[in-house]
């Protein structure tokens, strides 16, 4: 009855009515009505979670800073005075250590989660992850090469470049591998995802062998460096790093515009998407470039951090479904929040020492992921 009335209404004055009115009216009975409030619920919840993680990330540590003090310190910078007292030391810790670290955590966490979501869509395989394409291991290979062979490489002549040598090498490494893998996967003008996947596995193995060889060459200090780097850490965060990697990670976000709907179509299959008017090869190229930039830039500062890109999209699909229009922004929020949480754990569990964050994410992520897999057998 109601449907019939609605269809009649649609035919009468459809164009004058706003689409959103209809969405709510016509779809409430069909799509359970809660989806609309669920969307707000999801984003609200994720926003709150991220906010809380930011406050903990900035506030908690050897020097405690309360939320009120954080507000006062930040406001002070903008020449607004808020009557909350804070110590000089708190101010300098916030600006020099905590804030860059939290910002890096947000960027890298969001970037890894976005990259995971995009790759899982691109490969139509919910098990894809940035490291699968060899981006992370390629970056690692170059970074380890820089750690071990850095002294032989001409940077001795340009000491200023030293600071950036490692991130730069990692970035170049990540980009080189993704380019290589992509070229191998591209046959007769077609981007063949399964070949890309296999090429990624091969490149991963090759990079692993290279890293092994370099490890063999390394001395003790270098070994420690390598170990720390390959397990990941936000400890390198500094404004200089952010200035280099930040833009590289934020820039690709603009490429996400209008991408989500096409990502949904791509899940149907390459030729199906083409039949629906999507330029499939162009879309795939764009996705790969976005992923390479975000992950390459992120890995170059933090080292390899696993499981965020795998776990976040999975977790979200269980709650919000597969629509990328919700999935992509939600995974950025959740990825950022989770990484900040993991970083906080990594600094506090063994304080004053610091665990590599990759250890924390793997310890939490792997069992959780197994649980998800076992659960999934019961259907969606």
């Amino acid at each position: 009855m109601r449907e019939a009335a609605l269809i009649e209404k649609t035919e009468k004055g459809s164009e004058s009515l706003k689409a959103s009115d209809y969405k709510i009216q016509e779809w409430r009975g069909l799509f359970p009505g809660w989806i609309f409030s669920q969307k707000t619920l999801v984003f609200g919840g994720l926003g709150l979670f991220l906010g809380a993680m930011i406050l903990i990330g900035i506030g908690n540590g050897p020097v405690e800073i309360s939320p009120g003090q954080i507000l006062a310190i930040v406001a002070r910078k903008l020449d607004i005075s808020i009557p909350v007292e804070y110590a000089r030391q708190q101010e300098s810790v916030l600006w020099a250590i905590r804030l860059p670290r939290v910002l890096l955590g947000i960027l890298v966490g969001a970037g890894l989660a976005l990259a995971g979501t995009l790759l899982q869509g691109l490969f139509r395989n919910p098990l894809a992850e940035p490291s699968l394409l060899g981006i992370s291991s390629g970056a690692a290979l170059f970074a380890v090469g820089m750690i071990v062979l850095g002294d032989f490489i001409t940077f001795a002549a340009f000491p200023d470049l030293r600071l950036f040598a490692l991130p730069l090498a990692a970035f170049v490494g990540g980009m080189t591998t993704i380019f290589l893998v992509y070229r191998i996967g591209k046959r007769r003008g077609c981007v063949d995802t399964s070949t890309i996947l296999l090429a990624g596995i091969a490149v991963n193995a090759l990079a692993g062998a290279g890293i092994g060889f370099l490890t063999f060459l390394a001395d003790d200090t270098q070994l420690r460096n390598i170990a720390f780097w390959s397990l990941g850490s936000l400890g390198n965060a500094a404004w200089q790093n952010l200035a280099v990697a930040g833009p590289l990670m934020i820039l690709p976000l603009f490429g996400l515009k209008n991408l989500s709907r096409r990502m949904n179509v791509l899940l149907l299959g390459d030729s199906e998407a083409a039949h629906l008017g999507i330029e499939v090869n162009r879309l795939k190229r764009r996705i790969i470039i976005i992923v390479a930039l975000t992950v390459g830039a992120g890995v170059s500062v933090t080292g390899i951090i696993g499981f965020v890109g795998l776990l976040v999209p999975h977790l979200l699909r269980l709650t919000v479904g597969a629509d990328h229009r919700i999935l992509l922004p939600a995974s950025a929020l959740l990825g950022a929040g989770l990484l900040l949480g993991a970083d906080w754990l990594s600094r506090t569990i063994v304080a004053p020492a610091e665990l590599p964050i990759g250890v924390v994410t793997a310890f939490i992520g792997a069992p959780f992921f197994l649980w998800l897999l076992l659960r999934k057998n019961n259907g969606y």
């Binding site: 269809i7 069909l30 139509r124 919910p126 899940l267 149907l268 629906l276 597969a322």
Partner: protein, 275 residues
Amino acid sequence: MGIEAREIRVKIGKRILLDDVSFSVNPGEVLAVLGPNGAGKSTLLNALAGTVKTIRGEILFGGKELSRWKTDDLAKVRAVLPQNFDLDFPFKAREVALLGRTPHIRFSENARDFRIVEESLKKVEAEEFAGRFYPTLSGGERQRVQLARVLAQIWESQNGHSRYLLLDEPISGLDPAHQHLTLQTAREFAGRETAVVAVLHDMNLAAQYADKILILKNGKRFICDRPKNVFNSRVIREVFGIDAYVTKHAADYELPLIVPFGRAGGEGKTLGAKV
């Protein structure tokens, strides 16, 4: 103007999969493509869909060469039902059907898109499970949801342009009632200025619903004509290698009724084979 293929040839590696195949389908007509396995039926459909390149000949949609169409323009008037409909992501069936509206959506779906999707779901009798997650549906149900998606894609006329519907084995996984429903729907779409090409296996259903039958054998066109001129014992034996008795349909004397009774030259040639 409908679909026209002129002497097309498809070669993959060293094998020639289609050779010198020509046919035409006008809007309002349903063409059924039949043939034994490996005869090139799916290759022909893929060539029409543009996923397989022809090395010779021409394929025209509405008088315009396939390669000269812009992807998004073509998507507004031509829909392709694939044989594969895997989708491992938790979309609702309704969301899958809605993806069919993609070529018509500029920014976001509007009321019209939603209405069309509902109607196309109703058409394939999928509305009762439209709210379920696609990966939890049975094979036949998925097939119907995909059909709904394809129908939603070319649901309405685009400024009087002809539309084109390509169906690759659209009824292979369906129960008999939905086989008829699907082909009836194809017929109905043909009635709306649409040229339909469907790959089928069932000769009787093809005879019943198609205006023309194209039979392929070894990548070549064996015959292309109206059903009553195509189906006779000789053709069926030569192409499919089965002995069949062809009579007139009790309900419609114009319709051939095919009763196959065994492999040609093989055992079990007679109707009493089982006894």
